[in-house]
């Protein structure tokens, strides 16, 4: 089988009547000479830290290290429970993703997924779905392997680093990973999962990495928030049976190509985009005087 494309993985999973997550998990245990349980337990440990991060982020909001952000995840969470929302459950997931991204910026404990700067998206989406769908724990752990499998192929074919490929490579990848995980968690097929990857990532193509003052705060935390929304909508679209005209593997290659031609000023250097707006410059000057 072809382990190097999402299409290859999805076809194999369909053939074996299993999920992408199970397939990735089994591949992982084959490469490992210790007991199989270790691999499961390691991912479970990641999951428990993700849940803890959501809890801490929502209940103990703190100012970020640089002081630009903090507390918006908690604010949004209260609003999400107010029955007034326009976007329903999505905003519940979004508030959690935002809370974790803020916790990261406040030097709290998180799981890089795939990076620290994009660490809010998966836990926000998955903890919200855990409450909504009440799946058994194993299904959630397997959905993390789904996300890991997608991330691994993006890492091989494009990039997961903002300095190399812009924010499309960080939050864009995290959203695509979360979209696939969400599809499998709610019972969708492997083919639907990779369609969710394509639909999600297509809408983040070209997203630049332009952090104000070079810090993982603005716009990173809010891009995590809206990354979660993107992931959930893409998952719903794929579950409804929408097929991306451009297949996921080609979208990933396009993302890599766009990253390579993206100017350096828009790749984590704080020399362009939002970092160089009047407000961005004002913050930058504030930090240089500290």
């Amino acid at each position: 089988m072809d382990w190097n494309t999402l299409k290859g993985l999805a076809e194999e999973a369909e053939k074996q009547k299993t999920s992408l997550g199970n397939l990735v998990y089994r591949g992982e245990t084959e490469d490992y000479d210790g007991p199989e349980l270790d691999i499961y337990e390691r991912m479970k440990q990641n999951w428990l830290v993700m849940k803890e991060a959501v809890h801490t982020g929502l209940n103990k909001p703190q100012k970020s290290r640089g002081g630009m952000i903090g507390g918006d995840g908690a604010k949004l969470h209260i609003y999400a429970n107010s029955q007034k929302t326009l976007s329903g459950l999505i905003i519940e997931g979004v508030s959690r993703s935002l809370a974790v991204a803020e916790l990261n910026a406040a030097m709290g404990k998180i799981v890089a997924a795939p990076t620290a700067g994009s660490s809010g998206i998966l836990p926000g989406v998955l903890t919200m779905l855990e409450e909504k769908l009440q799946p058994e724990e194993k299904k959630i752990i397997m959905s993390l392997f789904t996300a890991a499998g997608v991330g691994s192929i993006i890492a091989q074919k494009a990039s997961l680093s903002g300095a190399e490929g812009g924010c499309q490579a960080e939050c864009g990848s995290a959203a695509a990973m979360a979209a696939a995980a969400a599809v499998e968690l709610s019972g969708g097929s492997p083919t639907q999962a990779i369609n969710a990857v394509a639909l999600s990532l297509k809408n983040n193509l070209g997203l630049v990495c332009d952090p104000v003052a070079g810090l993982v705060e603005v716009p990173c935390a809010k891009r995590n928030a809206l990354g979660a929304a993107n992931a959930l909508v893409a998952a719903d679209m794929a579950l409804a049976g929408i097929v991306s005209v451009i297949p996921a593997d080609e979208v990933i290659l396009a993302m890599g190509n766009i990253g390579r031609i993206m100017p350096e000023t828009l790749r984590e250097t704080a020399k362009g985009g939002l970092a160089q707006t009047p407000t961005g410059i004002k913050w930058q000057e504030h930090f240089s005087k500290l």
Partner: protein, 224 residues
């Protein structure tokens, strides 16, 4: 990037934010320095270059470096309190913005003094995703990644010194994964960096230390 990655390279590591290169990598650099000086540190001058110099406060690189010197792990939630912990440990820390020339943008140089006045100069860089490389130890150019258990020696540059160490390691069943030798001047002091697949017992270190040509032998464990 063509290598196949483990699921845990993608989901993980568990770490304290906000940045794997500016925070987690910084903790690991500090932890390497702590192991190389191998005694309680009383003074630390920390020279910051490039992006470390520009963003160290906002990324918490400063507290992360100190947390590493105190031996904390990259996932320890006390990292942000490292200055307070340093004060409690009677460790005096100063930061200096510097230009170290043509080096990686995330580079730090530690100038440390231990409780017995032992000194250590160590330079290293955080090269992405929490990975690090130590490029200089006490004036020797080196290349240590901290992914293996590593033996770092200082010894007289003379025939047989290297063979003595490799023989001892082979006797104890320790396989050498990577090895690098550097010296300042021919016949003067030299250093050996040996990365091994197996754990090196402290007793083995003592045997190497007792060799007449060797002035210092340090064991650096994998840093997480």
């Amino acid at each position: 990037m063509a290598e196949s990655l483990s699921s845990f390279d993608i989901i993980g590591p568990i770490m304290v934010g906000p940045s794997s290169s500016h925070t987690a990598g910084a903790v690991r650099l500090g932890k390497m320095a702590k192991q190389l000086i191998a005694e309680k540190i009383k003074e630390a001058r920390i020279l910051l270059h490039g992006s470390f110099r520009e963003t160290y406060r906002g990324h918490g690189t400063d507290v992360a470096l100190v947390a590493g010197l105190l031996g904390l792990s990259t996932h320890d939630v006390r990292i942000k309190d490292a200055f307070k912990l340093a004060e409690e440990a009677a460790l005096i820390v100063t930061f200096e913005p510097v230009d170290l020339g043509e080096v990686h943008p995330n580079t730090v140089r530690f100038l440390l003094k231990g409780e017995s006045d032992r000194e250590l100069e160590m330079q290293g860089s955080s090269i992405g995703g929490g990975n690090i490389v130590i490029t200089r130890i006490n004036g020797f150019d080196v290349e240590v990644y901290g992914n293996y258990e590593t033996l770092v020696t200082v010894h007289q540059d003379r025939p047989g010194a290297i063979a003595q160490v490799t023989n001892i390691l082979s006797y104890y069943g320790i396989n050498i994964a990577f090895m690098r030798v550097a010296r300042k001047n021919r016949g003067k002091l030299a250093t050996m960096i040996i990365e091994t697949d197996q754990h090196i017992d402290p007793d083995v270190i003592k045997i190497i230390e007792a060799l007449p040509a060797f002035t210092s032998v340090r064991l650096v464990e994998k840093v997480i």
